[in-house]
């Protein structure tokens, strides 16, 4: 699916959260399974949260495991499994590297399907319900968002729709829980009936087909053909395998194979039915709808976009620095002294104790002072922008500009967020469709100096070379990033698919959903980054404390000197900055004092302004920090993470080399 809506692409699914766990035998031998299917932006996740009282994200994101999660519910004394599937447009949709949607659906072995449709846009939502019904599964329909529909002057004849569809229809308002329990209970009842009555009961009682007789005959003919061993040869491979494994009986396979002819017919039927059941009266446009038009138009859309971006970044930085100061203050006052004395008491070897402190004192503090304040607060803001539908508007506004870098407009927000911290920005690339886009965006994000790296540039240059030079360094870094982005777009195989994006209506985000989404993502970050941070800190600490770093200095010294015109200590500081960017300067000073004595306590004492400029540029661009590397690996795999790291390091060294020659220090 190249154009799944932004809001549906919220986050990677928890890798098969529960793979239909073995359950104690129900009367039929297993719990009835209800699959939830719907187009993106229909309020499915809100609906699910109401139905099961628990939040979980699902999305069909590239490069991750199949986005299916199941959860047990108990409703009206019945136990059932709700299977949560990504939002889709047709059963044939597929994301990068994932099987087609129908396969995900059928592999969950549903006994019934609960289709969530937009009551205000029935003609475009019914085809999916028909497609599910054509699979031979009993369906129930939740005509969701009836509140929004009513505000648009749209009312449904639910009884008539139910009659036409041959299925129970429930008007629902997911975010307020209205009708949700009834819809789920009905779907569970259908599923239980089918699970009890065997696989064939439901089909016998199935509704009459609304399709043209010649189409029906054609599908039936194909089904007969597929029942013969030779018949499946012409099917696409995935469908052929599904028939062979029994996942798709011939009739179901024939329906799926005839999608190209059945889909237009489904849309015709949907339009006809919608005309029969929808009653529309003229009402003034809703404020949200009028606003939705405004935010995507050049005026006032563009100024608003600038305000939202600056506001988001400002809020993240403000809340982040405030919390960061409080947390590191508390850590320094309460935890650090206790930890230090405890570690020194337990571990008698000095170097080992010191390295352990690098890990558990500095490492955990880094997690605490970066992770919670900056990342969690950014996630909250991102979730608000996503759930409100505004993120899609930014995608439209900036699409053309980002196309030059091989990226869709949606990449704007993560890349801008990278100026705060790279880690949440990389998670933010989940709003992108393809793996190619995510890799390119991640590369740009790592090239973007985060606030810690920006601080190094300012602190290194402003006092010794002036503010103008500091700004100049940022200019150089921006040029390097754009140049590298254009080059990467040309080098990475594949093309960017042009934008086809259904714009979600603007909605007021639900606080509980926002909090749950932000917390869910934050947990994932903590799990990934903490071990890397601890291990990385320990290894670097050990190297530093035992003096193992000296041979390294000897090894990289000549290269750093020749390429960048910098003393060897500066090279070591750059390597160690891998742990924490904001320490790049402190580390440089510590190392310089160790090397040159107390006279080197000021940067200006042993580095010329030109050398400082080179050092600042390389630091701003160079390798990702440990937390960023861990995030890259978590999101894109270690190979891609290593490639991006190597690419960024290469860009930093080349840029540093060029700058060093231009300013005349090498």
């Amino acid at each position: 699916v190249s154009a799944v809506e932004v809001t549906e692409l919220t986050c990677r699914a928890p890798a098969v959260e529960a793979t239909l766990p073995a359950v104690e035998p129900a009367p039929s031998g297993r719990r009835p399974v209800v699959a939830i299917v719907g187009r993106p932006n229909v309020g499915k996740s809100t609906f699910l949260a109401q139905a099961s009282g628990r939040y979980a994200e699902t999305a069909n994101l590239p490069g991750t495991t199949v986005g299916v999660s199941a959860r047990e519910i108990r409703i009206h004394g019945r136990e059932a499994m709700l299977v949560d599937l990504p939002g889709i447009f047709t059963l044939e949709d597929r994301s990068d590297g994932l099987p087609p949607f129908w396969q995900l659906l059928l592999e969950a072995h549903p006994d019934a399907v609960l289709v969530i449709a937009d009551a205000g846009d029935l003609a475009r939502h019914l085809p999916l319900a028909l497609a599910c019904r054509d699979l031979g599964l009993p369906i129930a329909l939740a005509a969701n968002l009836t509140d929004e529909a009513a505000e648009r002057g749209i009312e449904l004849d639910v009884g008539r729709l139910s009659q036409l569809l041959g299925a129970p229809v429930h008007p629902t308002v997911g975010r307020r829980g209205i009708g949700v329990q009834a819809a789920v209970a009905d779907a569970v009842r259908l599923a239980a009936d089918r699970a009890r009555g065997g696989r064939h009961a439901a089909r016998r009682a199935g509704p009459a087909t609304p399709y043209r007789p010649d189409l029906v005959r054609r599908v039936a003919g194909l089904a007969r053909e597929l029942a013969t061993p030779a018949g499946t040869a012409a099917l696409e491979p995935a469908l052929g395998r599904a028939v062979a494994s029994g996942l798709c009986p011939p009739r179901r396979a024939a329906t799926l194979a005839s999608a190209a002819t059945l889909e237009p017919e489904r849309w015709r039927v949907a339009q006809r039915w919608a005309a029969q059941v929808v009653r529309e009266r003229a009402v003034p446009a809703r404020l949200a709808d009028r606003l939705a038009r405004k935010v995507t138009s050049p005026w006032p859309g563009l100024p608003l976009f600038a305000a939202v971006v600056l506001g988001s970044l400002g809020a993240t930085m403000l809340i982040g620095s405030l919390l960061s100061a409080v947390l590191s203050g508390a850590w320094g006052a309460l935890v650090s002294p206790v930890l230090t004395s405890a570690v020194r008491a337990v571990i008698p070897v000095h170097a080992l104790a010191a390295a352990t402190l690098w890990a558990f004192d500095s490492g955990l503090l880094a997690m605490l002072s970066v992770g919670i304040p900056f990342i969690l607060s950014f996630y909250v803001i991102l979730a608000v922008l996503e759930d409100s539908g505004y993120l899609a508007a930014t995608a439209v506004l900036t699409d053309r500009v980002f196309n030059a870098l091989g990226l869709p407009g949606r990449a704007a927000l993560p890349i801008l967020a990278a100026t705060g911290c790279n880690v949440p920005a990389i998670y933010g690339t989940r709003v992108l469709d393809s793996r190619r886009e995510r890799v390119l965006a991640s590369f740009l994000i790592v090239l973007t100096p985060c606030s810690a790296r920006s601080a190094v540039v300012i602190a290194a240059l402003a006092p010794f070379a002036g503010w103008g030079v500091a700004l100049g360094a940022f200019g150089v870094v921006a040029l390097v990033a754009v140049g590298a982005g254009v080059a990467a777009n040309a080098l990475v195989p594949g093309h960017q698919s042009p934008l086809i994006l259904e714009l979600p209506p603007l909605r007021r985000p639900v606080a509980r959903q926002v909090a749950a989404k932000a917390w869910f993502r934050f947990r994932s970050f903590v799990r990934t980054a903490t071990p890397v941070m601890l291990a990385g800190s320990f290894v670097l600490g050990l190297a530093y404390e035992t003096g193992a770093i000296v041979p390294l200095e000897a090894a990289i010294g000549p290269t750093i000197g020749w390429l960048l015109g910098l003393p060897a200590v500066a090279g070591i500081a750059l390597v160690l900055a891998f742990l924490r960017k904001e320490l790049a300067l402190q580390l440089l000073l510590v190392l310089a004092i160790a090397e040159y004595g107390a006279g080197a306590s000021s940067l200006g004492a042993f580095l010329s302004p030109g050398q400082l400029f080179v050092y600042a540029v390389v630091t701003a661009v160079s390798i990702p920090c440990a937390a960023t590397l861990a995030t890259l690996a978590d999101e894109l795999g270690w190979r891609t993470a290593a490639t991006i790291t190597a690419g960024v390091l290469g860009v930093a060294l080349v840029a540093g080399g060029v700058v060093a020659r231009v300013v005349g220090v090498a």
Binding site: A3, F89, R124, A275, V396, D399, R400, I500, L503
Partner: protein
Amino acid sequence: MPISEPADQECSLADLPLGVAATVVGVDAAFASQLAAHGLRDGSPISIDDDAPFGGPRIVRLGAARVALARSVTRTVRVRVGIAQTEAAAEEATP
């Protein structure tokens, strides 16, 4: 197909002026299935809501929905100015 307005004004969706009601009369194969999934098919009523800045996507109205389409995508869609009578309405009219 009965048309309520003069039928000879056919153009690419890329050239359809803002706010003018039109009907889809042809979609190139390149994006046909993706567009069809959004409800952009032969006979669909369509209009342009807005244009994004810097030659960005066109925002297309399809029934209740708004879909942003890159310019290159809009060039693959042919439209005819005027609203075709919908099939449902046509069927209701014929006893």
